[in-house]
Symmetry: C2
Subunit: 219 residues, 2 copies
């Protein structure tokens, strides 16, 4: 005889269960956390370098950097003013997961921080399937990647709370149709808040900073 068990409530995967625990730890300590995702080279680390000095008088900021290998990104975050920068080497894994973030949180005295920036592994597919327990997920797109990326990587665009369009200083040199790009985004994630910026010229960075400040203060 085969028995059937009806599952009415959604059962969380091990990852998602741990993400809930990470969120509770962050909330108890009063830390607002942002998961920053992007393609390799879209400018996650450059964005963090632009962000840290502008927030360091207002908030105590920690950074967790996920990479296949090296500590290049955590080193850059430290130099840019992160009070703590933890490098997670995933050892070949193509995304951060909630276990890895838990291990990083274990290294931090969370009550000493107001804001945690998590830089995910560069990948437009896999990270979107692994919630970490952060409060917001953002995607850094970039002009040189091309204007068709929302259409080709819908899962990532669908799941984020804000979108940065980086490297807009390269618009004169690249055939990037902003209207076509934005239409793709709008189909997947209507009304998504979007920040066109350049980490090189610093255009648009202030709007992104204000969004973070509002979020941390409203927490």
């Amino acid at each position: 005889m085969t028995k059937k068990v009806s599952v009415v409530e959604k059962i969380l995967s091990a990852n998602d269960q741990l993400a809930v625990e990470n969120r509770s730890r962050l909330d108890e300590a009063g830390v607002f956390a942002i998961n920053i995702m992007a393609s390799p080279g879209a400018g996650k680390t450059s964005l963090i370098e632009q962000t840290l000095p502008r927030l360091s008088e207002k908030f105590r900021v920690a950074v967790v950097d996920g990479d296949i290998a090296t500590s290049i990104d955590a080193d850059r975050a430290s130099e840019a003013g992160a009070l703590a920068a933890i490098q997670i080497n995933t050892g070949g894994n193509c995304h951060l997961d909630a276990v890895m973030l838990k291990q990083a949180l274990d290294q931090l005295d969370l009550k000493d921080f107001d804001l945690l920036l998590v830089e995910n592994v560069g990948n437009l597919v896999c990270p979107s399937n692994f919630p970490l327990g952060t409060h917001k997920s953002i995607l850094v797109a970039s002009v040189p990647e091309g204007d068709d990326k929302p259409y080709k990587y819908p899962g990532m665009y669908r799941g984020v709370d804000a979108l940065i369009i980086n490297k807009i200083d390269l618009m004169p040199y690249i055939p990037f149709k902003m209207d076509y790009f934005r239409r793709g985004v709008e189909i997947l994630n209507a009304g998504l808040i979007t920040f066109p910026i350049s980490c090189t010229t610093q255009e648009g960075v202030d709007e992104w900073i204000n969004w973070i400040i509002e979020n941390v203060e409203d927490k």
Copy 2:
């Protein structure tokens, strides 16, 4: 009692076993196949668009395009002169595998072709772990991604037979140290054949085309 089975010969994974079968089918039909991998937006499709018209008098070329969603790339390959263009939508999967390539090969009358270009899903991590059965694997890097990518995504750089550095026309606008980039590549894959090119200005494309011609003719 626990029994132990000693495994002396390497056991192929299901994927790798199927890759061997794909290779046999390609060899029997006389088709030379290249697996093209890259980050999203590095320029795989643009490279294929530059490549097809230059080869169409010499070889009969088919293209297999892997994407999470859409048939944008296969449409572009058709327009650029591919005799056949098969779109594989991976349905969220972050890489092509040998099963998917098998399904694409089933759609082609292989003896009608000399060359097969396989455009993998844009991803600098996962595709390197799934051999397809192609004869060569190449990586398309691009200047806007930044010069630290070999250090951060070593698995991909380690496993390829040739490297394209695309978008070199953007060098004046981007802080990309070619020496630093090349040192990273050399550590991972000594003597790797490298083609600096621009799909926009067409600089360097001929050297890449000659490499393909030599490979197909030596087959």
